[in-house]
């Protein structure tokens, strides 16, 4: 045990990483490459032959309005989710900053939805947002207001989904930004007091710059997360009404596994998603390395 030979010492690191690398190659890297490959073929799940068709699938996709619709929906959903989550999380974190009992209770409550299955969250909110029997409309009626159509109208469905995802994740980001706030030394605020800094300049000149590394990371995580949305769509709207809530991942799933099982098209849409996520990831690591550099 003590005297692993010279050879043993050389082989040891490879032996230790081998299982992990194998798993990642088989179940992440290969499928990714396979997806890219399939996006250049005409393959369908129900047809055995695979022919190379070049960029045909991409031309086809970008020529279809339902794909553009899915892409547009995804962006709409992402922008709304990210902005609402980020602003609320920052606001909540600053508001709940002091370590009092009530603040810690609020933070704990805010965080709760994060550890619960998104599926269940989607189901409860479908029930709350039910047009006829849901609690939200009943409350609106009690206040003398007309009920909303929530998930049943093309105008409100997407926003309703944003509300649900906001509710699910805002607590998580609040807690992350809150803990970033804790790392700011109090002396800085004491110095700012001596400099007679106002509340707003204190936030924008001191607080926000100090937490900006974590804030940027939150932004990127939020964005990537919002591109992956599936559960709520599948459970709450099924992409409808009409195609109002068709997003990219749902489009990929439906194209591959429903109807004509056009795997090749789904893969091409997947490559588009990969491209978007890759771009965001590159940004993420650029910021991460900057952050490490600063410390």
């Amino acid at each position: 045990m003590q005297d692993t030979g010279k050879l043993g010492r050389k082989v040891l690191p490879y032996a230790l990483v081998l299982p992990a690398i194998l798993f990642l190659l088989i179940f992440t890297i290969y499928p990714l490459l396979d997806m890219v490959y399939m996006s250049f073929t005409d393959w369908k799940l129900v047809q055995p032959a695979k022919n190379f068709v070049g960029l045909h699938n991409y031309r086809y996709l970008f020529g279809r309005s339902d794909f553009w619709n899915a892409l547009g929906n995804t962006f709409y959903y992402s922008v709304l989710t990210v902005i609402s989550q980020f602003c609320a999380a920052t606001l909540f974190a600053v508001w709940l900053r002091k370590n009092t009992r009530i603040n810690s209770l609020v933070r704990t409550a805010l965080f709760t939805p994060h550890i619960v299955a998104l599926l269940s969250v989607a189901m409860v909110w479908s029930w709350l947002m039910n047009e006829d029997k849901g609690l939200l409309n009943m409350l609106l009626n009690l206040l003398g207001l007309p009920g909303l159509r929530w998930l049943n109208s093309a105008e409100t469905a997407m926003t309703s989904l944003v509300i649900v995802s906001w509710w699910k994740s805002v607590g998580y980001y609040t807690v992350i930004i809150f803990s970033a706030l804790q790392t700011i030394p109090t002396e800085i605020y004491e110095a700012a007091d001596l400099d007679n800094a106002g509340r707003f300049s204190r936030f924008f000149r001191i607080t926000f710059p100090m937490i900006s590394p974590q804030a940027f990371l939150c932004l990127i995580t939020m964005t990537i997360g919002s591109f992956k949305v599936f559960e709520t769509i599948r459970v709450m709207t099924g992409g409808g009404p009409g195609k109002a809530t068709y997003v990219l991942v749902y489009y990929i799933y439906m194209t591959a596994f429903q109807g004509q099982f056009k795997v090749c098209l789904a893969c091409a849409a997947g490559v588009v998603l990969l491209f978007i996520v890759g771009l965001l990831t590159a940004l993420y690591f650029m910021l991460l390395s900057r952050k490490v550099h600063y410390q």
Binding site: T4, P13, I21, F23, S179, Q214, I252, G270, G278
Partner: protein, 287 residues
């Protein structure tokens, strides 16, 4: 906050301050309600009768708890099997991940070896690839080897936890070099150093990674949904999603009962361990 001591505080200001504090407190309570109430509503609905669940105006509570709802849901399918599937899949994933990720993270943290940077690059790339991009190929792969009717498609793809390897590597790296040199002087072999010195030091991040993984896979719906088309390999999440599509779809008290089965174990653990759970998530979120 109130550092302008030079100015005299007038009674009006004092009154405004009290109002402000009261308002602040009420807003906070309001926020708690917004985030906790849906869970209470879920539980409350699950114990109502059908007429109670759709009554107007709504009642917050049930007249008499309808435990039958749970019995009905439980008997509407092979729920014992679904629950067992969920538990088997989650626990096997965690065991496999620990076995695979800890040695890899250790090697990446402690050894310099040819190609190490490239292999770690694979980990970093995998860490960012969402499952929504890989499911098609993985599905086809398992169908080729005729394993779609087993639990393996839900387990094996998560055998290596790229995020976990990344986190554990960070915490292994933080162990000071002198500690390891000291252990070498104490005549400790490599394996001894790994188990006696390094692992205890990485305990908190190992716990965080495990918890993260457990919650993630217990709650996961997307992957088992696309990987399973046979009833007897489905986990709880997929089964409960199907309640909505079944004949009980509009019986909200039953749908909610199903969700309570899924959510309650996690909520109960959260009530007792929320401090640890939150700090675990923060720990992994900031790194």
């Amino acid at each position: 906050m109130e550092n302008r001591a030079i100015q005299q505080i007038t009674p009006l200001q004092r009154a405004l301050g009290t109002v402000f504090r009261a308002l602040n407190f009420l807003l906070k309570i309001g926020l708690v309600v917004v985030f906790v109430f849906p869970f209470l509503w879920m539980i409350s609905t699950s114990l109502k009768t059908y007429p109670e669940s759709i009554a107007y105006p709504p009642s917050l509570f049930f007249a008499k708890p309808q435990w039958e709802n749970f019995v009905m849901v439980w008997n509407s399918g092979d729920y014992l099997r679904y629950a067992r599937n969920s538990i088997t899949v989650t626990l096997t994933i965690i065991a496999l991940q620990t076995l695979v990720s800890v040695p890899a993270a250790y090697a990446f943290a402690r050894y310099k070896f040819r190609g190490g940077a490239l292999l770690f690059g694979i980990v970093l790339v995998s860490f960012m690839v969402p499952t929504q991009l890989t499911f098609i190929s993985v599905y086809l792969m398992f169908s080729k080897v005729s394993m779609l009717k087993t639990l393996w498609p839900q387990i094996l793809p998560f055998g290596a936890n790229a995020f976990g390897i990344f986190m554990l590597r960070q915490s292994f790296k933080q162990v000071p070099e002198e500690l390891i040199e000291s252990a070498r002087l104490d005549n400790a072999g490599e394996i001894n150093i790994m188990f006696r010195i390094m692992l205890p030091m990485a305990k908190s991040s190992l716990v965080a990674v495990t918890m993260f993984s457990f919650i993630g896979h217990w709650n996961d719906y997307f992957w088992p949904f696309v990987m399973t088309n046979t009833d007897f390999i489905r986990p709880l999440t997929v089964a409960i999603a199907q309640l909505r599509d079944s004949e009980h779809g509009n019986q909200w008290q039953l749908v909610m009962a199903g969700n309570v089965i899924l959510v309650l174990p996690i909520l109960i653990v959260y009530v007792f361990l929320h401090k640890k759970i939150i700090s675990g998530f923060v720990y992994s979120g900031i790194k």
